[in-house]
């Protein structure tokens, strides 16, 4: 362990430590720390879990337990440059959400949860994205795309570099 280079950069560590004064326990910084690492690396590898645990004075299994509970953090491999969340809950499903997900799955050649071979896009299904007035909707990284037709979905995929 000691001779391998650290995964967390000084910048990430500083960002994580900046959260400490906000909470009465260091364990409460688990989700913020996972978000910081996941945002920078596009996943949280096991070695990062160990390093986060060290920072938060926890056992690695405590951080890993939390990480695996939530659907948001990738662990096996980095997510694509664009993480494309397609909503499949009821309001979107009534307006073609499931079909949209199938369409994207076929055109990208990946199943939900997988990343295209060129590393551009990770396709994901989402439970209610809370944008039901725009059904069927898609969250592309930080951008909510309202009322997406199959054609618009194809165009969106093209714009991802």
């Amino acid at each position: 362990m000691a001779d391998k280079p650290r995964i967390l950069t000084d910048e990430m560590i500083a960002e994580i430590k900046a959260f400490f004064p906000r909470y009465p326990s260091k364990q409460a910084v688990t989700l913020p720390a996972l978000h910081i690492v996941n945002e920078k690396l596009r996943y949280v590898p096991l070695r990062a879990v160990v390093e986060i645990a060290h920072l938060l004075e926890l056992h690695p299994s405590q951080v890993q337990d939390t990480l695996t509970f939530y659907g948001y953090f990738k662990q096996d491999a980095p997510a694509g440059r664009c993480r494309l969340w397609v909503c499949r809950s009821i309001s979107c499903a009534l307006r073609g959400g499931d079909e949209l997900l199938d369409h994207l799955s076929h055109s990208l050649g990946v199943k939900p949860g997988e990343t295209t071979a060129d590393g551009r896009i990770t396709l994901e299904y989402a439970e209610c994205l809370g944008a039901c007035e725009h059904a069927p909707c898609v969250l592309a990284n930080e951008k909510l795309i309202p009322s997406v037709s199959h054609h618009e979905a194809d165009e969106l995929v093209q714009t991802v570099k």
Binding site: Q62, F69, I90, A93, C128, C132, E133
Partner: protein
């Protein structure tokens, strides 16, 4: 009805409505000034209690009463958690408030924290709301600049810090003790109550958890007064001693097969028909409605001939639904097959069950497996009884689970099988002509990944 003007949504859609400048121009932070200058925390609690405000997050618990459960003269700290996890399918009112009028939410939050003697508030927001997150973080920074947050707010001696905390994609974090566990950095497994959060909550300290729309209402109660708030809505049903009344304005989220889906504000007690016709512009494509979800998917189902149901805290229950929930109405037109609705509902709850209580974890996932089998033409009439058996045995009401997620999973099953049993039977018989009458055990089809 005609003289009702939106209050919570008054600024939504106006240019720069998310900035402090625009908010202050329309009288923003005057309620906070008034509260800090003239009232004690106890006064704020009492007036909120007198207003009849009930929580907007789903359970409808009286807000002022919840605050009074905090221990008296506690040395502190007392924590305030703002529940911005939303996530109930069909619901997006909190997102609209946070994106387009974040200062309204913060003003209500600051007043609520003052009322509960909280010096630290955690704004727990689901991570699927990037714009709301940005707007709330900006608005919090603007509040520190203006002295609405931080030490000695507006010279009152009261100090408050607000920290925005992001979730990571789990529906169960909307359950208040699940939220607290998640905030503490753990998996969001709801806690056994008692102790209730007011006695032992976040970091083992007294804690209040309130919804975004609830604190937005608090702001208006102190802007316009208790009498104004009580003049809107529906008084308690004299025949129901447990009804605390449904006062105030409410945000209704309308989606599904509707011409104008959106978030609309109306007095509590509007009917489903009024909502669809007056706000939603009718059912889309000139079709007829078949059914509607009254308040988020966990509340169950109303049939088209039940659309005169009043959407107050007491209304949907009269039609066999679980309650008002989040007041998110999802309309389904006549082309919708109930087998598809039910599979969608079961899939959602099996995906979101946290796995802590066996009846919920197993019940929701077996319901999904059975619905998948039915959908794919391998259903048996017996399955409907098995599904009902699951529905009747999972949840807080039968007393088999820690939180209400399983009740939410059960209600669509119960309502749908009761109200549309004939349709489901016809579907099963027509898609499985040779096997619908079988009753022997069958293996589940591996057609759908549960997780």
């Amino acid at each position: 009805m005609s003289e009702f003007k939106p209050v919570l949504l008054a600024s939504v859609g106006k240019p720069e409505s998310h900035t402090r400048k625009v908010y202050e121009q329309s009288g923003g932070y005057q309620a906070l000034r008034k509260v800090l200058k003239t009232l004690s925390p106890k006064d704020v609690q009492e007036q909120t209690k007198a207003s009849g405000l009930r929580g907007r997050g789903g359970a409808g618990f009286p807000t002022g009463l919840k605050w009074t459960f905090l221990p008296k003269d506690h040395p502190g700290p007392i924590y305030f958690c703002l529940n911005a996890d939303e996530s109930e399918p069909g619901t997006f009112n909190n997102r609209i408030l946070m994106e387009d009028d974040p200062h309204q939410v913060l003003e209500g939050l600051i007043i609520s924290c003052f009322a509960t003697n909280s010096a630290v508030a955690y704004f727990y927001m689901r991570c699927e709301y990037p714009l709301a997150y940005k707007r709330i973080c900006q608005a919090v920074a603007e509040c520190y600049e203006a002295g609405y947050l931080g030490k000695n707010i507006l010279g009152s001696g009261y100090s408050l810090e607000i920290h925005v905390h992001r979730g990571a994609g789990a529906y169960i974090c909307g359950e208040e003790t699940g939220l607290i566990e998640s905030l503490e950095g753990k998996r969001a497994w709801p806690r056994i109550k008692p102790p209730f959060p007011a006695v032992e909550g976040a970091f083992r300290k007294p804690t209040v958890v309130n919804n975004v729309e609830t604190v937005a209402c608090v702001k208006h109660i102190f802007d316009r007064g208790v009498d104004w708030f009580k003049s809107i809505g529906i008084p308690p049903d004299p025949n129901n001693p447990r009804d605390a009344g449904s006062y105030g304005p409410k945000l209704y989220c309308l989606s599904g097969h509707i011409n104008k889906p959106g978030c609309y504000e109306a007095p509590l007690g509007i009917t489903v028909t009024e909502l669809i016709e007056e706000f939603g512009g009718g059912v889309w494509k000139g079709r007829k409605a078949k059914a509607a979800i009254p308040g988020g998917i966990s509340m169950g189902l109303l049939k088209e001939n039940e659309f005169h149901c009043k959407l107050d805290f007491n209304g949907p229950g009269k039609f066999g639904c679980l309650g008002l929930g989040t007041a998110a109405v999802v309309v389904m037109d006549e082309t919708v097959r109930m087998v598809d609705f039910l599979l969608n509902s079961c899939r959602f709850f099996s995906h979101e069950s946290c796995g802590q209580c066996t009846p919920c974890r197993e019940g929701t996932s077996w319901a999904t497996k059975m619905m998948t089998r039915i959908k794919h033409g391998k259903g048996r009439l017996k399955d409907l009884d098995l599904l009902l058996e699951i529905a009747e045995n999972i949840g807080i009401m039968p007393g088999t689970t820690i939180c209400g997620l399983a009740d939410g999973a059960a209600w669509p099953l119960k309502n749908c099988i009761k109200k549309f049993r004939n349709e489901l039977e016809v579907y099963i018989k027509s898609t499985n002509p040779s096997g619908w009458m079988e009753t022997a055990a069958v293996p589940a089809l591996q057609l759908l990944d549960i997780h």
